[in-house]
């Protein structure tokens, strides 16, 4: 008759395959040894997290530096201190062009009633934004027309342009009549694209002279132009005095950041170096796990010989050691991830930057580390699977 043995059972093992339990047994029995074995992967993982995180923070800092170095658009706010048509306002384009600001033009928004007018003359009020432009807009290379020319707008009586967004959104077309402040206007052109002024794509555009005649309260009065590279900040600081020598405080001018191309190039340079370091870290982690796992298998060859002698197949031992190595890799990856995040937080606090967490890496690192561990353990697993039990046991 069988007697119930007083055997310690590990909670939660009933549903696991026995082979998996056999693989995890040494890890449960010696968790600290597992941690030490996985140290290589942990260091590699921490290095990856730190590298990518610091790289992210560096990029943010770089963006700021590069923006300051490469901005060349200067935006001048004329909303305060001037009445519509005042001299500084009317002369802004010419003054700023003389100071070296290229493609400079002035614009503002009008608060006037606009309405669609059908063929029968019926007016349907619309909520279209209305923008006035100075003739210097025709020098802008970043604003493209799909229909008409700037001359059509500034030399034809009762002409307006519309943005391509209004065409798509409200079905307006060239030749349509719309009402602006009660005056009928004909659509003579379409603004197709505008890199620096996307608001124009959803606006009705008027010549500045027409806008001044229609009156209304102007909003967002501004002149924009481009300085030579690196001179935007200098020019921006000089613009208030140029436009309003008596009351420079009424003019606000600033350099508009646009450093994307240079930033991409610099980021690529920085990232390439970091990726090399990261790849080397992974390789070192791989080698450390491989060596540790191989020496562990060699140390326990009698146990593997024994298992083979009681019926374990080579594939089973390969699986067993592979699982162990994968778990060691995953544990190392998690430890390294935690250490890396702590390190990142510390670096961010030290450099007074917002910590950048590479979420893709955070999610992908544990399975990647498990894979690295499993691959690193393949040599050891193959050694365990090859053991010849009888010869080994008789000789040892």
């Amino acid at each position: 008759m069988n007697r119930a043995p007083r055997v310690r059972r590990v909670p939660g093992t009933a549903s696991r395959p026995p082979l998996l339990d056999e693989a995890l047994g040494p890890i449960r029995a010696q968790p600290w040894k597992t941690l030490l074995t996985g140290l290589g992967v942990a260091v590699a993982a921490a290095a990856q997290v730190l590298l990518m995180g610091i790289q992210g923070m560096n990029e943010s800092a770089l963006i700021e530096h590069v923006r300051q170095m490469t901005s060349n658009e200067v935006q001048t706010d004329l909303s305060r201190g001037f009445a519509p048509g005042d001299t500084p306002w009317r002369q802004a384009d010419a003054t700023l062009a003389g100071a070296g600001l290229a493609q400079s033009f002035t614009s503002w928004r009008l608060q006037v009633e606009v309405a669609a007018v059908d063929t029968l003359g019926t007016r349907t009020p619309a909520a279209w934004s209305t923008v006035a432009l100075s003739p210097a807009v025709e020098t802008r290379e970043d604003i493209a027309l799909a229909g008409g020319s700037w001359d059509d707008l500034f030399t034809t009586t009762r002409a307006v342009f519309i943005g391509t967004g209004l065409m798509r959104q409200d079905g307006l077309q060239l030749g349509d009549t719309i009402s602006v402040a009660g005056e009928p206007m004909v659509v003579r052109g379409v603004i197709a694209s505008s890199a620096s002024r996307p608001d124009l794509l959803l606006s009705v555009v008027l010549p500045d002279t027409v806008a001044l005649r229609l009156g209304g309260v102007p909003e967002a009065v501004r002149t924009t132009g481009f300085a030579p590279p690196g001179a935007a900040n200098t020019l921006a600081s000089a613009v208030p005095t140029l436009l309003s020598p008596e009351a420079p405080h009424t003019v606000q001018a600033r350099a508009v950041p646009d450093a994307a191309p240079l930033l991409d190039a610099v980021t690529a340079d920085v990232a390439t170096g970091a990726r090399y370091v990261g790849a080397i870290a992974i390789l070192l982690g791989f080698l450390m796990v491989a060596l540790a796992q191989y020496s562990a298998v060699v140390e326990h060859l009698p146990a593997y010989a024994l298992k083979k002698s009681v019926g374990a197949s080579g594939a089973q031992l390969l699986t067993e050691v592979g699982i162990q190595a994968g778990v060691i890799g995953a544990v190392g990856g998690l430890v390294g991830l935690a250490a890396g995040l702590v390190g990142l937080t510390a670096v961010a606090a030290w450099r007074d930057l917002v910590a950048y967490v590479p979420w893709g890496l955070v999610i992908g690192l544990p399975p990647l580390a498990a894979l690295v561990g499993a691959l690193a353990g393949m040599g050891a697993a193959a050694r365990a699977a090859r053991v010849d039990p009888i010869t080994f046991i008789r000789r040892n």
Partner: protein, 228 residues
């Protein structure tokens, strides 16, 4: 007239030569081991006993000749098929290898894990095997707490837990005193009585005398029917 029963193992002109060695580790051998065989093999060190055990235990394949196990032609069997057949064979070694940090029950359960036996059946099967060797009371003890005789009985329990068709014993009493050796040989007799064939390599005349059939090995040649 009834046909003779199919043998458990049959060799025809089997030889074994290892790469890099001039001489044959095992010379041309033809033999037959029946399902109820109880054979003792004796011979000096280096005579070819290990080679014979490897071949009988399906750990190695013959270099030439043909061999069958339970009707399966081993020269045509895949490695996977060999692994399956090997699970019908149990080994007992002189040095009674156990996993020291594990309990007696866990040691005896070990083969069941690799044989794919459901976990629910492990404890009952292992306890039955421990009952057979008289160590059920020590199921929860650590292997490293056992005496030499107890350890060898545990290896016997581990060997029979899967109910093998062939028990291959390699000097099972070589490290035991007379009393423990007798106890182990008694258990082996019991296992044989329960239907397993037994092949025992031994230097111990007393162990050899228990077997009704005795073979000798010398310089790679197996001699069948050696006198006691």
């Amino acid at each position: 007239m009834t046909e003779p029963a199919e043998p458990l193992i049959e060799w025809k002109d089997v030889t074994k030569t290892y790469p890099g060695r001039d001489s044959q580790a095992l010379s041309t051998t033809t033999l037959r081991i029946d399902n109820d065989a109880h054979i003792a093999i004796t011979g000096p060190s280096g005579s070819g006993k290990t080679t014979a055990l490897n071949l009988l235990g399906l750990v190695d394949r013959p270099s030439t000749g043909r061999a069958w196990f339970a009707g399966t032609d081993l020269s045509r069997a895949s490695n996977r098929a060999l692994t399956r057949l090997r699970r019908r064979i149990a080994f007992v070694f002189q040095e009674f290898y156990l996993l020291e940090a594990r309990t007696v029950l866990e040691n005896v359960t070990l083969p069941l894990i690799y044989h794919g036996v459901p976990r629910a059946e492990h404890t009952d099967a292992a306890m039955a095997a421990l009952e057979l060797v008289g160590l059920a009371d020590l199921a929860a003890s650590r292997a490293n707490q056992l005496s030499g005789g107890q350890r060898q009985r545990v290896t016997l329990a581990r060997a029979v837990v899967t109910r093998p068709r062939l028990l291959l014993c390699d000097e099972p009493t070589g490290s035991l005193d007379a009393a423990n050796a007798d106890a182990v040989l008694d258990i082996i007799d019991t296992v044989h009585g329960q239907g397993a064939a037994v092949v025992m390599v031994t230097h111990d005349p007393r162990a050899a005398s228990r077997a009704p059939t005795r073979w000798g090995v010398s310089e790679g040649r197996i001699t069948l029917g050696v006198a006691a």
